[in-house]
């Protein structure tokens, strides 16, 4: 079982590493595409399963703006938040599969399906139009922290606390954060209390104010604290050191032998939507990714540090590699995988 576990991780790693951050080059050459049968002749609706101010809300807004500016077609964003994306996904699956409704979702959709196969599989029940953000996670501490200053001293300090050290994250059952923390604690032998904050502000405030000892997060979400010098990363959970974090060691360099789980956000359409409409939507969203406004947005969120772009096939490969990865870990964690 351990062997198959590693094989699954290796496959996922290869998919994740497909392409490193080079100068941006748009992979969709066609600058325009005729509307099939006049579609769309009215505004599209984009269901977003999270609030407007979070990472998903922002990427949805940026992509909607880019697609509208490219095609002239308006996109109404409909935020149906709650239940870790369940509410939005359920609402989307109940919407007519006519191509007028698209869905924004993150890797939570894949992990939810991994835990419970009755939940929609984003690679088969939906058609990925584009994955427009792929990012890695890091562990952060306060820059003025004196008890530890880097990963090694942090691990030593945590071990000395006998399980009383704390880290803020979104540690819902089966989340990417909790699974990765299990990898880290298993590899290092340290025990650390995870405190789950579902909103960003209290999570970051907890580290800033010294309520917790460390923070698990993606760099784009804490960029302002990095720029202001309040936070500093001490560990990058990725196979290579990204250029902008060249002085931060990776988990592999620190002796942790696991394949990193990535946070990815993308856009989907129902699998039963008419094919010609799906093709047009694929073009619009993949080309929308190339728009200057969207690229500028991704840059501001550290989303160009590694290759954030996956077309339909790339997205399916990413999801297909991620689901077994989660499933294996869930079984190891003793969760009830259905």
């Amino acid at each position: 079982m351990k062997h198959s576990f590693k094989v699954a991780f290796l496959a996922a790693g290869l998919v994740a590493m497909a392409g490193s951050a080079n100068a941006f080059e748009c992979k969709v050459k066609e600058a325009s595409m005729s509307k099939p049968g006049g579609f769309p002749d009215r505004a599209l609706t984009m269901i977003v399963p999270y609030g407007p101010a979070g990472g998903s809300g922002q990427v949805a807004a940026a992509m909607a703006e880019a697609v509208t500016s490219l095609t002239g077609v308006s996109i109404n964003r409909d935020h149906k938040s709650g239940g870790s994306g369940t509410v939005g996904m359920t609402a989307y699956m109940a919407a007519p599969a006519d191509g007028y409704s698209v869905l924004e979702h993150i890797d939570d959709a894949s992990s939810a399906h991994a835990l419970d196969s009755s939940r929609p599989n984003p690679a088969t029940d939906l058609i990925p139009l584009v994955t427009s953000q792929v990012t890695f996670s890091q562990i952060y501490i306060r820059t003025n922290e004196t008890r530890y200053t880097d990963w090694k001293s942090f691990v030593a300090w945590v071990k000395a606390q006998n399980g009383k050290a704390t880290i803020a994250n979104v540690s819902k059952e089966g989340s990417m954060e909790r699974v990765t923390m299990k990898f880290i604690t298993d590899s290092t032998g340290m025990s650390i209390q995870q405190i789950s904050f579902d909103k960003g502000a209290p999570r970051y405030g907890a580290l800033l104010g010294g309520q917790v000892d460390a923070l698990y997060e993606q760099p784009g979400d804490v960029r302002k604290f990095l720029d202001s010098g309040d936070f500093k990363p001490i560990l990058t959970i990725f196979n290579d050191r990204p250029g902008v974090f060249a002085d931060v060691p990776t988990h592999r360099e620190m002796g942790m032998d696991f394949e990193p789980l990535l946070r990815f956000r993308g856009f989907y359409v129902h699998k039963d939507a008419p094919k010609d409409r799906v093709e047009w939507l694929k073009w619009a969203f993949q080309r929308g990714y190339c728009e200057d406004s969207y690229q500028k947005f991704n840059e501001s969120k550290f989303m160009t540090v590694i290759d954030s772009y996956r077309d339909t096939e790339g997205s399916i490969a990413l999801i297909n590699a991620t689901i077994p990865q989660y499933r294996e870990v869930y079984k190891q964690m003793g969760l009830d995988v259905k």
Binding site: P52, A61, G83, I195, A201, Q211
Partner: protein, 499 residues
């Protein structure tokens, strides 16, 4: 500070377009706050894409102004029609609407106008004076254990509000707390009481529950009276409170400013907790607790002062640390980002002009509540003269839209009607609607912070109570609870035949 404030005011009023944006924000915030079914968040969401074409200071200023006036705007419908414009106006309805039924709508609205302005201006002044040190103090000293303790402290007086007996008050609060547990648990994400409905995974949303318990149940109550021939249209009382009348509540105003400011400064908490805590403190310190929920002006004053005092305070963690306090301040982050700016410590160094235009605009927006609020209110109050048979369907329609618009779920409209029917039946039996709503709102905030707090202290109660602010608040809450139980037992003894 004064020099910067004058410079900010000059920049604000030195450009006709900036003035136009300011006026638009003031009026738009009030209107969207006052019209049932939409809120200041609706207006902010509509305006968000357009702010990219504005100057960064104009964009952020517009949202800050909408925040100030929108928080006040929801009080009008809470008082006149029992429809809180937003959760932070719900405690205003506890006493505001009974005052309307007693023909004292003018006094309630007048107090709301004045106290919203006082609360907002006071917090704007503190915000200007000490944003950075206050924000740093708050995040260092107030964590999940303290927030839970604050909620516990607030809930300890909840039983006193609106119930026929203290036991019915407590049962109402417990029902609210139970409803608050529907949906995923805040730590592990384990689903609870969703009965197979995926939409319930996110729990019961505040707005449909509030609209159901307040507006819909009230329509049923009035409809019953109409059918049984007991209906009397509420007299339209236009007389505003006198300065002398309001002066009597100076302590309540001061207390609510402090409570509102304290709650507003906590990241992720905002004006809703502020309003409920402000109201709860008014009840706690009152000699006539039983008058609350039945038309006590102090209830309106405390709630409206506190929620507006939270607006300036909520800007403190946003501007100083980049931590938004609620949904609208989170949208402000997006406005900053659209202009390649990030709220946080650097914004004071990189964009001091922007900060002081925003500070000045918030000050003047709160001031303008006084002027425009009085004019607007006199117009809106004439709606009370609309006959019930026309007003009731209009309120039901607007409440249904208001419930649906938040998440676009039919479930929320169903929740509103279920809450309305439940509220109607419970009110007939003497249970407390404010108690249920307090339980739902404080329960959600409290459970999450309790779970986080217990994780932080490794489930060790000794460590939990070694945090001084936390232990003080818990102790005060326990004493209040003990006193309330003692009073209830004394009441039973006095009623028993033996005594």
């Amino acid at each position: 500070m004064l020099e910067n404030f004058i410079a900010g005011s000059a920049a604000l009023f030195g450009d006709p377009f900036t003035i136009a944006i300011f006026v638009f924000g003031v009026i738009g915030g009030m209107l969207f706050g006052a019209i049932p079914g939409v809120s200041m968040l609706t207006l902010a969401a509509i305006l968000l894409p357009f702010t990219s074409d504005l100057d960064p200071a104009q964009g952020v200023m517009l949202f800050a102004v909408i925040y100030c006036t929108g928080t006040y705007g929801g009080a009008i419908t809470a008082i006149l029609f029992n429809i809180p414009g937003a959760p932070e106006n719900a405690p205003t309805a506890f006493d505001g609407y009974p005052m309307t039924k007693q023909g004292r709508a003018g006094k309630a609205v007048g107090a709301a106008v004045l106290c919203s302005a006082i609360g907002g201006i006071s917090s704007a002044l503190v915000m200007m004076a000490a944003t950075e040190p206050l924000a740093k103090w708050a995040i260092r000293n107030i964590g999940p254990p303290e927030i839970f303790a604050l909620v516990f402290f607030g809930l300890a007086v909840a039983s006193s509000v609106g119930g026929r007996t203290i036991w019915k008050g407590w049962l109402s609060v417990l029902l609210g707390l139970m409803v608050a547990t529907i949906g995923q648990d805040p730590v592990g994400g384990i689903e609870r009481y969703n009965f197979g409905f995926a939409d319930l995974a996110a729990g019961i949303a505040f707005v449909p529950a509030i609209l159901g318990f307040f507006a819909v149940s009230e329509i049923f109550v009035q409809a019953e009276k109409k059918v049984t021939g007991k209906y009397d249209a509420p007299p339209v009382g236009m007389s505003f409170p006198t300065i002398l009348e309001l002066w009597r509540y100076k302590i309540a105003v001061l207390r609510s400013i402090l409570v509102g400011f304290f709650c507003g400064i906590l990241p992720g908490i905002g004006a809703t907790l502020a309003a409920f805590m402000g109201y709860g403190e008014a009840v706690r310190w009152s000699k006539d607790k039983k008058s609350f929920g039945k038309g006590n002006l102090e209830g309106v004053i405390s709630s409206e002062t506190a929620n507006n005092a939270a607006t300036g305070a909520a800007m403190i963690p946003l501007l100083a640390l980049g931590l938004p306090g609620g949904a609208l301040t989170a949208m402000m982050v997006a406005v900053f980002q659209m202009h390649d700016l990030e709220p946080g410590p650097l914004v004071f160094y990189n964009s001091p002009d922007l900060i002081w235009i925003v500070f000045a605009a918030m000050f003047y927006a709160n001031l303008s509540i006084l002027i425009i609020g009085v004019m607007e209110t006199k117009t809106i109050m004439y709606l009370l003269k609309v006959p019930f048979q026309f007003l009731a369907p209009m309120i039901l329609l607007l409440a249904s839209i208001g419930s649906y618009i938040g998440r676009g779920l039919v479930l929320d409209v169903v929740v509103m009607f279920v809450a309305g029917i439940l509220g109607f039946l419970l009110r007939r039996s003497g249970y407390s609607i404010p108690g249920i709503v307090l339980g739902i709102i404080l329960g959600k905030i409290g459970e999450q912070n309790f779970a986080q707090g217990m994780q932080m202290v490794h489930y060790d109660l000794v460590t939990y109570f070694s945090r001084p602010i936390c232990s003080l608040l818990i102790l005060a809450g326990v004493l209040t609870l003990g006193f309330s139980i003692y009073q209830a037992i004394q009441g039973i003894k006095q009623k028993s035949p033996a005594s």
